[in-house]
């Protein structure tokens, strides 16, 4: 496993231009090998412990958290997100809903619960591990986000409009990089998420373990990091804007069988 990775690094540094295709093949081969025993499983285990751990002023666990299918129901819950929640009167993705439960069930402040939502290789965040644990309970199930409630429809439309909104120091929209098939940044291929085929593989594989940074990454992180690279200010964690983009991508990619949490490059 590490030998294959070392070969990729050596190749990235020294291979002739003609070998760019070989590098890609090596990365793909490495990814397949790692998939047999993904580090994502470690995050799932950590997430299970956190799910069951009493926390906050109320010293209760998240085991009664309603992710849409009833309090404590985990099986298939992720595959049905994002969705409209009556108690919050808004559409929520997994992370936004987890935050809702931390605040309303455990009595934690929003500020405390969002202090460190994105972790790193040395210290993953609570949100990342919980996302891994919950998402894993939808493995093998078809992605079917909510799309009948007017607010679910509105979130889809807002997400689509955000995808095309050009702004910031560099005039970027999502489409600047994810707008035309077959384009790359450096060697990284860029899925056009207006295309259901591309959105399906995204919906089916996030959240995921990211090999290049040895960390676990979530969709809220993906939105945040894209806006950072777009030279924009920061979108608030769990805001309507980020949920709308996730709603748009997930609805576009609906119907795919969930096979995550797996690996990314």
């Amino acid at each position: 496993m590490s030998r294959a990775f070392a070969r990729i690094l050596v190749c990235l540094a020294f291979c002739a231009p003609a070998a760019a295709q070989d590098v890609k093949k090596e990365i793909e081969r490495y990814r397949q090998m790692v998939n047999d025993g993904s580090p994502a499983e470690l995050f799932e285990l950590e997430g299970e412990a956190l799910w069951k751990k009493p926390q906050g002023p109320k010293q209760v666990s998240l085991e009664k958290c309603d992710l849409g299918l009833g309090p404590g129901v985990l099986k298939g819950a992720y595959a049905a997100l994002p969705r409209y929640f009556k108690d919050a009167d808004r559409v929520m993705d997994l992370e936004t809903r987890l935050l809702h439960c931390m605040v309303n069930l455990q009595g934690r402040s929003r500020e405390e619960a969002t202090k460190r939502v994105f972790g790193n290789a040395d210290r993953p965040s609570e949100m990342e591990s919980l996302s891994a644990y919950v998402a894993a309970q939808s493995r093998g199930m078809k992605m079917a986000p909510g799309e009948s409630h007017p607010k679910e429809k509105a979130a889809y439309e807002l997400g689509k409009a955000l995808y095309f909104q050009r702004a910031g120091s560099w005039d970027f929209a999502c489409t600047s990089c994810h707008g035309e098939e077959g384009r790359r940044i450096r060697l990284q291929e860029l899925p056009v998420l207006l295309n259901p085929a591309n959105a399906r593989s995204v919906a089916a594989s996030w959240p995921a373990y990211r090999i290049s940074t040895s960390g676990f990454v979530t969709m809220q992180w993906r939105m945040n990091n894209c806006y950072q690279q777009m030279r924009m200010p920061e979108p608030a964690f769990g805001s309507d804007a980020t949920v709308a983009l996730i709603q748009f991508i997930t609805v576009t990619g609906k119907g795919e069988v969930y096979r995550g949490p797996g690996n990314k490059r």
Binding site: F164, R166, S169, I185
Partner: protein, 196 residues
């Protein structure tokens, strides 16, 4: 009674209508916050960003010509040769940092050129959002007109193609006059690896 029926109808429209760029801007003003050097002023679209969003990057030809002419006026062309140091240009082209909320303000920004373009054939890790620029100067020469075009294109790409995906690197304050000259050198100097 009239007011009551208006209130009943009102929520239906924003829910079903497709949000305009102005609506989206309002949502972003509410849901985003400044961080580091990235202030909320960046959310506010200028005329060009608005037109390109509205038309999905396909503006009507006459409007595009007018707005491109406006963008052309923003370019401050320096006097004399525009060909700077290609070695410095290569470093600027490689550097993908700058202008992000994680980047310290006041430090030199990169141009992120290799993110989207092939330049020196020695660099195999290049993007393909923009065209390949390998052999650029070897194919076009490096006379005053070519220098001026390359400088202007880097300073404000929108003066030449209104809804180009390329950032306005000079206009936005990302790159200095000297940095842009060094990038012109990278593309046009016969000694630059781009031309080998």
């Amino acid at each position: 009674m009239k007011l009551f029926s208006l209130l009943l109808l009102f929520p239906l429209f924003p829910v079903l209508a497709q949000p305009t760029p102005k609506d989206v801007e309002k949502v972003m003003q509410r849901d985003f916050h400044p961080r580091g050097q990235a202030g909320m002023d960046r959310i506010v679209q200028d005329g060009l960003q608005r037109v390109c969003t509205d038309t999905r990057d396909r503006p009507p030809a006459e409007l595009a010509r007018q707005l491109e002419a406006d963008q052309m006026k923003t370019i401050a062309f320096p006097q004399g040769s525009l060909i700077g140091d290609w070695k410095s240009g290569e470093r600027i082209a490689q550097n993908g940092r700058g202008m992000q909320w994680t980047d310290a303000p006041g430090t030199a920004n990169g141009g992120s050129c290799y993110n989207c373009h092939q330049l020196s054939p020695k660099e195999i890790s290049f993007g393909t959002i923009g065209p390949s620029l390998a052999g650029y100067g070897a194919k076009r020469g490096n006379g005053p007109d070519v220098q001026r075009y390359v400088y202007g294109k880097i300073y404000n790409a929108k003066a030449y193609n209104l809804c180009s995906q390329m950032p306005r690197l000079g206009y936005s304050g990302t790159l200095t006059e000297q940095q842009i000259k060094d990038l012109v050198g990278l593309l046009l100097d016969p000694a630059s690896p781009v031309n080998h």
